[in-house]
Amino acid sequence: MGFLGQLLDPQQWFNALQWGSFYALIALGYSMVYSILMLFNFAHGDVFMVGAYIGFFVATGFLVLASAGIIPASGWLIFVLTLVLTMLLTSFVGMAVERVAYRPLRNAPRASAAITGLMVGIFLETGNLALLGASRRTFPSLIETKTFQIGSVYVTNIKILTIVLSLALMLALHLFVQKTKTGMAMRAMSYDYAAVPLMGVPMDRVIVLTFALGSALAGAAGVLFSMSYPVLEPYMGLLIGWKAFVAAILGGRGSILGAVIGGFLLGFIEILVAAAFVSTMRDLIAFSIVLLILTFRPYGLFGEEYSARLRI
């Protein structure tokens, strides 16, 4: 089957939607921080990794509780509890990253903040490796995998769950940013960073909340990712984090819709390239396509020129 055949194969669409969900959820964290602070949170990929590990420990903990009879031993209940608690705990990780790596450098050159972000990332990876050792962990299977057949397409319930839940989270984020007062403050700060604090908006609180929201989404991505690919290792956030970063750029820096579209687009490109060509060529071709798109649309698909201005 050639490239076009793969393109029209609904089986690949589901795979691409699933991959795209991971990228989009992580890319949102990059984009939200960028829209307000104009800097890339380079530690975000590792926040995703920490989220996956937190999910692992939380899920294991709930399974122990369930086997002791303290909570009902229902896979779905444990899954929901794990997801909520992981998102909460991961948001604390994000807030800690902001406190340590970004707040002291609020007025420093942005490149210095990029370095601290990179260093926090290395710290999280090595810290994980030192704390938990090099052995890989396997995420417990909370929900029994079922495969449905729709026409000629086979889909697992976890795949559908991932896609639906990601879309729901993105919708929730959209509503939060558009409908609440805090969301309005976030939008205002991304529009004019200098004027907003003068209007009595608590700047630090909005920034911390932005980090918390982005990290919570990364935590959700961590749980969903580990349900499909249950092997956890300290460097799992590295490649997927960088790719989500590229996805955020592809969609347009600082744009929430752009991050979602960019994430799904990168997912589609990667899955289709891997399906149509040799899978080792995936990164090569996918990034070449990204480079080509950025050559013609330097600010991404949904980014505008003002969103790439330098704030000095």
Partner: protein
């Protein structure tokens, strides 16, 4: 309040400037020669297991009880002979120096520095390896400084350029001078290898610069973070491309490089790189590059061709990173695609921002400091990468521009010397 570096520098200057640099180097040379003769005996007498490799720094964390012995060793072996010889030779050096033109002055000091390092290095194979990697690191950091410092953009492509330079030069050297399974028998007699090596390195650097052109053309139409993203994609593309070329080993890596990157070779290339980059940033082009960083519109109004200036700075960075990559491949004797990932870029960025932006001496200082730090933390093994990030974060928090950002260490003896010569014709 003045920060500590500003206070420390004049003190250092006075201390070093009291005696001419040349006499310090002669002192160090004598100390190095003495170590060859008495080093083993002295370290045995001081209950050390072996000669302290890099000033015994690794002892600090692994065996703190040995610290007094190491300090004694350093005092007896290095500082005391160095100081005595420097003191004694100072009058002689001062008299000879007067007859040197600035160029001769610099060349003589470089030769002395080379002799000191070579004599110190030949005591231990490990020292030579560290010195050669240090030279490669200095080249990488300084060349990256061109883009991240003087040009004011954020590039992470250094690992990709290294990769291109390393692979191109390795393939050429192995094809030309080594009997290899893949590339067949050597095309040229292996005895010619050291003479061809400089040309091969230049070809590797040029190859890196040509691939950099593909990055440079789209990315310098816009400002801001665009370069960071493009260079990120570039690193991924290079790594993935190399992994897919089975002819050069793919993910397994590539070896059999002839051992041509000896310490003198690396030293000469490092000096060349520093010299060209220092001249570049002091030239009109360098000033134009800084002008673009500070205010692009103003620079353009002053007739600076901003795009051309940016592309040239970026290509210079790519060239020297490619050359450094070629040297690296021949120092280590083995390369694989994952040794040129983003982690490598992050390491070079760490050295650069530790030392400081827009400063040649800052880059050298940052690289040396980073390597010494790595040596101190070596006994920690894995936890080393817990401590280094914390140190870098602290540096960024308290000195966001790095330790020597936007300033050069001025060598008073050099500038004084130059002025003297400048005034000389007026007196005649």
């Amino acid at each position: 309040m003045k920060d500590w570096i500003t206070r420390l520098l004049p003190f250092l200057k006075r201390w070093l400037g009291g005696l001419p640099l040349g006499s310090w180097l002669i002192g160090a040379l004598v100390a190095g020669l003495l170590e060859h003769v008495f080093g083993a005996t002295l370290s045995y007498a001081l209950w050390l297991h072996s000669l302290p490799a890099i000033f015994g720094l690794s002892v600090i964390l692994s065996e703190p009880t040995l610290i007094p012995s190491v300090v004694l060793y350093l005092l007896i072996m290095y500082f005391i002979p160095m100081y005595i010889v420097a003191r004694l030779s100072a009058p002689f050096v001062r008299r000879v120096e007067q007859h040197f033109s600035p160029r001769v002055y610099i060349i003589v000091h470089l030769i002395l520095l080379y002799l000191v390092l070579q004599v110190w290095g030949t005591v231990d194979e490990y020292r030579l390896l560290v010195l050669r990697l240090l030279g490669v690191g200095i080249m990488l950091t300084t060349s990256l400084n061109l883009v991240n410092g003087w040009m004011g953009e954020f590039s992470v492509a250094v690992a990709g350029f290294m990769s291109v330079g390393a692979y191109v030069s390795s393939v050429l050297m192995v094809w030309g001078f080594v009997n290899d399974d893949v590339f067949g028998p050597a095309v040229l007699p292996p005895s010619l290898a050291p003479f061809a090596f400089p040309f091969v390195l230049i070809i590797g650097g040029l190859a890196a610069a040509i691939t950099a052109l593909a990055v440079a053309i789209p990315s310098f139409r816009t400002r801001g973070d665009y370069l960071a993203i493009i260079t990120l994609a570039y690193v991924f593309i290079v790594k993935s491309a190399v992994e897919n070329i089975d002819y050069i080993g793919g993910p397994r890596g590539f070896m059999n490089q002839p051992p041509v990157a000896s310490f003198p070779v690396v030293f000469v290339w490092t000096v060349l790189a520093l010299w060209t980059i220092y001249n570049y940033v002091s030239s009109t082009y360098g000033k134009a590059t800084s002008a673009v960083r500070d205010n692009e519109s103003a620079a353009e109004a002053m007739t600076v061709d901003t795009r051309r200036v940016k592309v040239i700075a970026f290509l210079t960075h790519a060239f020297w990173s490619g050359v450094a990559g070629g040297l690296y491949a021949h120092v280590i004797g083995y390369i694989n695609p994952s040794s040129f990932g983003l982690v490598k870029s992050a390491e070079v960025l760490g050295m650069l921002y530790l030392g400081g932006l827009s400063s040649v001496t800052g880059s050298v200082f940052g690289t040396v400091l980073f390597q010494l730090l790595a040596e101190i933390l070596r006994p920690l093994k894995l936890a080393k990468w817990l401590v280094i990030p914390v140190i870098l974060i602290l540096v960024m928090v308290y000195r966001p521009r790095g330790l020597l950002g936007f300033r050069e260490v001025q060598f008073p003896f050099l500038t004084a010397k130059k002025k003297e010569v400048e005034h000389a014709p007026a007196g005649n």
